[in-house]
């Protein structure tokens, strides 16, 4: 997916970009409203991540402008304020969702998916591999004519594997992506999800290989 990140703090922008790139997203970064508007004129984005306090004005001004221009690219606001009234006025101004800094990237992606689902038809970032087609926004896995809707964790696990076929993922690494940091996760839980995915992928050419002591890998037969 292609993101426009509007954030004046370079450090944070770099960190967020780095994290999003790991999942294969493309990020353009604007550090002020003026630049953000310029980016919007030249590029097409699936989603805008917008900071509220910007050097050349309030992010809300950008939102108002963005919405008046009939541009329907969804916007998720990243705010450092956590006052409830602030959240509400953000949604009134046309933000599709908001997150309070510091935020969980898994949650950010979950919110992105939810926002994109609501704005159906906009983003089509379907991944295809070995006769399998995965629509991460709808959570839909199609193999030939057969389609199933994956549970959220199954989807996230498959997304990880399908975006890096042949790469080995350790159980711990997968657990960190699938479960929140405050959850007590046994590595058996990963096995459960791997087992389910194997079942879903049975009719396809994709196989999940267990490498004893190392982890899992997605192979294309």
């Amino acid at each position: 997916m292609k993101f426009l990140l509007v954030e004046d703090n370079i450090e944070l922008a770099n960190a967020v970009s780095a994290r999003l790139q790991i999942d294969g997203h493309v990020i353009d970064h604007a550090d002020k409203i003026e630049d953000a508007m310029a980016f919007m004129q030249t590029g097409e984005y699936d989603l805008i991540l917008l900071d509220i306090m910007l050097p050349d004005g309030d992010g809300r001004t950008f939102l108002k402008h963005h919405r008046s221009g009939k541009n329907d690219t969804p916007v998720i606001v990243l705010t450092a304020r956590s006052q409830v009234s602030d959240r509400i006025s953000l949604l009134d101004l046309g933000a599709d969702d908001y997150m309070t800094k510091p935020f969980d990237h898994e949650e950010l992606q979950a919110r992105c998916r939810a926002v994109l689902r609501r704005n159906a038809g906009h983003a089509q970032s379907i991944t295809e591999l070995g006769g399998v087609s995965l629509d991460p926004v709808a959570g839909r896995l199609s193999i030939g004519a057969r389609a199933v809707t994956l549970r959220n964790r199954e989807l996230r696990l498959l997304e990880l594997l399908i975006n890096a076929p042949g790469q080995i993922f350790s159980k711990a690494k997968l657990a960190d992506r699938l479960f929140s940091y405050d959850e007590d996760v046994s590595e058996n839980a990963i096995e459960v999800y791997i087992g389910r995915l194997r079942k879903h992928l049975e009719p396809s050419e994709l196989r999940i290989t267990t490498l004893r002591g190392l982890g899992y890998r997605l192979d294309h037969e």
Binding site: A15, A80, R81, Q83, K101, P102, D104, A114, R153, Y181
Partner: protein, 455 residues
């Protein structure tokens, strides 16, 4: 609010007492002035008749050889007839000799020229008014001084005076009663702008610090001017502290977000378990501090707003559905389904911001404890009172701690591994109480916790 104002007297009492007191003084003064004047007029009436009587007797006195003869006319006494049958006394003296009448009747010294002297005196056990005049009769070889006194009791006069007093008294009392009415009307009129100002200030929302625009009487203008400038200063300092908090939050949360993003990204790259463990605890610490800060701010705001609820009519089902839309992405991460059950619109009067905050705290709480791939149900009821039940399929509340759970900062013992400052239930309880409702915690017989938010 627990502060009391140091009250000294009352403007209303002061104003009414002054007005009523002056009215009473004026009424009493009026009574005495009118009564004295009336007494004077009545007295001079009696004096005139007595004078006529004395003069007519004196005119009838003639000097004969044998001495002074007085053949006084009948009219001299008949003119003194009164309704009250006042008694009349007289005495006629020739020099020092009593010619006729009552010897003991008090006689005043009258000048010789016939001028009449009036005195009040006691005679025969009654108050009398005496008129006396003297004349010198000069004969061939005699020169006699004739003195005539006519006295009359004052029963009729007293009767008239009593009648006048009673009437004047009634008029005075009527005047007083009217004054009391006018005083209370005047007091109310004078106090009303003050009450209106008080009302318009009391009715304001917690954030309304705009100047008073309502016109006020000129005497109140200095008060309103200083009130307005006070509120302007308060508004400025509130805005400054709001900006300061926002700026401070921005300054703190942005680097935290940087650290968290880096930690998450690094976690994808490092392999050694001890490094990964360190990164995980970094993320956990950041989450804990930011959530605690957020909930403390929310709690402070709720405590502030609870005193001045900004209620509006809203549909509780709508509000719950909005909330569920907002929290669904978080629930999906654990494959938890959020379900809303309702039987149609539930209209309530409530502070939507507080309600949203309270309910989202309850759902976030449930999300923390509910097992993955389970269901959290939000059921909205209309009768007997509007309420929302949040039910999960988690471990439920520890039975021995249920009553303490909603207390500030207390966390259930089975919550060891879940991030949260424990303010969530406290916030929800405060919001319920502020709306006249309550929060109850129960465990479901089939397992799981149930929180009832009653409005």
């Amino acid at each position: 609010m627990s502060d009391t104002v140091n009250v000294s007297g009352s403007l209303r009492a002061r104003l009414s007492l002054t007005l009523i007191g002056s009215a009473a003084a004026i009424a009493v003064l009026l009574f005495f002035v009118v009564r004295t004047y009336a007494a004077q007029i009545a007295q001079s009436g009696q004096d005139n008749i007595l004078e006529a009587s004395v003069t007519s007797i004196l005119d009838a006195a003639t000097l004969r050889d044998s001495g002074v003869e007085v053949d006084f006319p009948y009219v001299a006494f008949s003119m003194l007839n009164t309704e009250a049958d006042d008694r009349v006394f007289y005495a006629i003296w020739q020099d020092e000799t009593l010619l006729s009448g009552y010897e003991l009747l008090p006689v005043a010294d009258a000048p010789d020229g016939g001028d009449i002297v009036h005195v009040s005196a006691q005679f025969d056990g009654a108050a009398v008014r005496v008129a006396t005049a003297a004349r010198i009769l000069v004969g061939a070889n005699a020169r006699n001084r004739v003195t005539v006194s006519v006295a009359q009791t004052q029963d009729a006069l007293a009767g008239t005076l009593n009648k006048i007093s009673r009437n004047v008294g009634l008029i005075g009392a009527g005047f007083f009663a009217l004054s009391v009415l006018v005083a209370s009307w005047a007091t109310n009129t004078a106090i009303r702008p003050l009450e209106r100002l008080t009302h318009s200030i009391t009715r304001r929302g917690p954030k309304d610090l705009s100047p008073v625009a309502r016109p006020v009487p000129s005497e109140m203008a200095p008060l309103v001017t200083s009130l307005n400038s006070f509120m302007a200063r308060l508004d400025t300092s509130l805005k400054q502290s709001e900006d300061f908090i926002a700026e401070a939050a921005h300054r703190v949360r942005t680097p935290l977000a940087t650290v968290r993003s880096h930690a998450e990204a690094t976690l994808q790259r490092v392999e050694r378990e001890d490094n990964r463990q360190a990164l995980r605890s970094m993320v956990r610490a950041i989450d804990e501090s930011s959530r605690a800060a957020g909930q403390l701010l929310d709690h402070a705001m709720i405590t502030f707003r609870a005193d001045h609820l900004e209620t509006e009519p809203l549909d509780l089902v709508d509000l719950v559905e909005d909330l569920v839309t907002r929290l669904t992405p978080v629930a999906e991460m654990k494959d938890i389904a959020l379900t809303v059950i309702s039987g149609g619109k539930v209209s309530i009067e409530a502070d939507s911001i507080l309600l949203q905050n309270a309910l989202s705290n309850l759902v976030e709480n449930a999300l923390k404890y509910a097992p993955e791939e389970s269901e959290i149900t939000l059921e909205v009821f209309d009768v007997p009172r509007p309420r929302v039940e949040v039910r999960d399929e988690g471990p439920g509340f520890p039975p021995d701690q249920m009553h303490e759970l909603a207390a500030r900062f207390s966390r259930g013992e089975n919550a060891k591994d879940t991030i949260g400052s424990g303010l969530g239930l406290t916030i929800a309880q405060d919001v319920a109480t502020a709306h006249g409702g309550e929060l109850t915690l129960t465990n479901l017989s089939e397992g799981g916790a149930c929180v009832t938010f009653l409005l």
